[in-house]
Subunit: 488 residues, 2 copies
């Protein structure tokens, strides 16, 4: 009996069991997207500050990402896939709730001891899947609340190991002062109350080890594994095994270790015969933190990076892979984003959508290459805090007047950031089909396009703005609140 | 003690009671739109085949509509308010469910003994309001199922009196042959199994009498009164009191009687001191049936009428009135439609929206004249059966190639229809701000507008089309089914 036979056999048993359960419990919801295999496992990799060009398969020629490249060639590359806001917590709440971050009230990045958290009344992907019997885990960076009701175990995750916020929110980072010691969580317990530089070298390894154990322990239950890597957010750390591995510098080594992690998880899925019943997703929270120079990635040919509504801030290299369900080696240029992840997972799993209104759409037709499938978004909206900075419909992107940060001369080196300056953007229109770098403002030549996009933006501002909130109370919801922490 | 004092006193008692109930039951939902008065009564008048110019207050200079004109001058005139499809049953299902008719599977007009009905799994306005203690009634024409689970009493209405479908679906209409005898319902009982021409003279009176009794009998409970007049659908009938009343012909007399009916109901509200706690709405299911000539209304200056996606088919003269809550004498040109009625009523009543996805939006900000309020619709879609014939965004309306009916020469007279011919429409763009009559196709001059509207339409086709239905099973739902009726 070969070693490959056992997983195959177990896989078939799983399938039969799953089919029986589906037929008995969910027959009313049956549709081609869910027919078989049912209740797929979902693995969601989420990098931190990864640029559009930071994978080899997205044009990063110097990058060493063989496992991610293989994931892409076995699935679909999404080339117009957006984070909802180009900063950490805001982006993460959208991924997990299917909402523009302004709808759920998470703005910017939460600091340590923030009294704001993801509202427990919002439903996360984990909570959407739990009623179907999913086991759920997050291994990596959470950043939606660092205590009490803010923790992931209060938001549908059975298991948690990782940092509660960014790895630069600690005393030793060059520009971040007066932070408390960085904690490491295991579920709701702080198992290390002072994560050091040496500890950070293990962050990617730890997440990976926990992931492999979690998959092993899931048994016959379907699972949702959320892997929000702390890297390549600065300060960059890599394990000793990967230090110098690529010969192309620390940033390349860090990405190579993330690629290793993805490879390990995929290998585990293969080993257990689960690949054909597992949807694997890879994307990132926002673009590269360009002021860090050689310690940051690249969004080329996109303009700017993290912290801006230019394409480099929000368009992310994104892969969906599901052998047998998503056609291998395909590319999809239609507009989609992290807000679509929850409703898409809900659709393929046959789960109910959250009761509260969400913004995302089921993009399964795009992923599965359905004939003639188009983006479900009439327009996509680029927010910064509560401000609507830009809107895209089809090939057209209109920026509204706003200020944004841009490099002032040379970026930093060796982990030290270079200076930013504030620049201003007017009412500027770009044709992304012909000008992906947003270099030629064509607003003057296309006043009607400007007018139509302005109209779309006006409507969205009303829908997600304070004005409508005051009028109806229906659409915009507050963030969660945590009690203040006494200073020690 | 004056006669006006008693209603005023009773009104104050109602208000206090309502406020107490709201505070105890619904404090979590409080918002300015619902604060006080709470649980308003809702009266929804719905004419049949009424043209855009068939009210004096909408430019119909010869029309005799003093009560409707007063309703308009005391509230807001909506000048870009649309039925979802220019035919009876399709339009009515949208009004009652807040969905484009294609989403809920009701296409065209249901004939007698149709095996299709409004799906009992859809939630109507009546069902949305029932959990809040509303009494509900429909007096007039239903047309969403003529027996069993299709009847309005199975869709949230406590009381019903009226015809189950159009008043021309009977044996004696000039062009409609082989119909069964026309029944008249009281709740679920057929109280007259052969409505005659003489009977039809009383249709508007009967609905009005039932409405007045219903308001009287509501006691302290809030109520939802739905008044879908059978008129001015052909064959036109009017009571003896109104026959010849205007001296301008039968059509004018019929409209004058509808106006009388509205006036009676409003007077009853005033008499009972309920006006300031009642939202009154008036609109129609589709435009005029132009082939009937002097027995049809007018949509001037709009193009075409009933049965087409031109403005005359779907844009309806619409009034919202609520003394003290909706500013008197205002006009709103923003795009809205019958699909918005359910979510708007739900918002002002503090009711939960249906669990299933709906298309309509809460337009309370528009109605209440909120500063800077804009249409919540990025685009509005004109359907015919399952075909998307046109899309409007802002001032632009794009027609997709389709055929439509148009008068062939002179229309009919005296209740006899004139002939239609089929015309074809290409990809045609109209600027409704400058050309409300859709007379100048400007597609060639504005290719980018055409491209953007085409894109919006492509997305909606996917969302509401069979393609996505097959992919996800989420978005489009089937109509209800009734057992076949054996021929006798």
């Amino acid at each position: 009996m070969s070693t490959t036979f056992i997983p195959y056999f177990r896989f078939k048993v799983r399938l039969v069991l799953a089919t029986v359960m589906l037929t008995s419990c969910l027959s009313a919801r049956l549709s081609p997207a869910q027919e078989q295999p049912s209740r797929p496992n979902v693995v969601l990799f989420f990098a931190d500050d990864l640029g559009y060009a930071d994978l080899h398969c997205f044009g990063g020629e110097s990058m060493v990402t063989p496992n991610l490249d293989k994931l892409a060639s076995g699935g679909v590359r999404m080339t117009s896939f957006y984070a909802s806001q180009a900063v950490c917590s805001a982006s993460r709440c959208s991924l997990l709730t299917g909402c523009y971050n302004v709808r759920v009230g998470i703005l910017g990045a939460l600091g340590p001891n923030s009294t704001t958290c993801l509202n427990p009344e919002e439903e996360t992907i984990a909570e959407v899947l739990k009623p179907l019997g999913y086991k759920t885990a997050i291994f990596g960076k959470w950043h939606l609340g660092d205590r009490g009701d803010g923790l992931p175990t209060r938001h549908g995750f059975d298991r948690y190991h990782g940092l509660p916020y960014s790895n630069d929110m600690w005393p030793y980072h060059p520009t971040s002062k007066a932070f408390p010691a960085l904690p490491l969580f295991e579920d709701e317990t702080i198992i290390n109350d002072n994560v050091t530089a040496e500890d950070q070298e293990h962050l990617t390894e730890w997440a990976t080890e926990h992931a492999l154990e979690f998959i092993d322990s899931a048994g016959d239950d379907p699972f949702f594994l959320y892997m929000p890597f702390s890297m390549p957010h600065v300060p960059l750390y890599v394990s000793k095994r990967y230090n110098g591995k690529t010969g192309r510098g620390l940033f390349h080594d860090v990405i190579a270790e993330i690629d290793w992690s993805v490879g390990e998880v995929v290998a585990k899925l293969n080993e257990k015969g689960l690949s054909e019943n597992t949807l694997v997703i890879f994307t990132s929270d926002n673009g590269p933190w360009l002021s860090y120079g050689d310690h940051a990635g690249s969004a080329q040919p996109l303009r700017e990076g993290k912290g801006t509504a230019w394409e480099g801030g929000q368009r992310e290299p994104t892969i969906f892979n599901w052998p047998g369900r998503i056609p291998a080696g395909t590319t999809c240029d239609e507009v989609a984003g992290t807000i679509d992840v929850l409703p898409t997972i809900a659709a393929v799993a046959g789960a109910a959508l959250p009761e509260k209104k969400i913004d995302g759409k089921n993009i399964w037709p795009l992923l599965s290459g359905a004939d003639g499938a188009v983006s479900p978004h009439q327009a996509y909206y680029y927010y910064w805090s509560r401000g609507l900075h830009a809107v895209r419909s089809g090939k057209w992107k209109l920026h509204f007047p706003h200020s944004y940060r841009s490099l002032k001369g040379e970026p930093g080196k060796g982990g030290q950031p270079g200076p930013y300056i504030q620049k201003t953007c007017g009412l500027e229109l770009y044709n992304l089909d012909e000008d992906i770098s947003e270099s030629q403002d064509v607003a003057a030549e296309h006043p009607e396009v400007v007018a139509m996009l302005t109209r779309l933006a006006d409507i969205k501002r009303w829908e997600l703005g304070d004005a409508l909130k005051k009028q109806t109370g229906h659409e915009v919801r507050p963030a969660g609140k945590l009690p203040k922490v006494k200073k020690q």
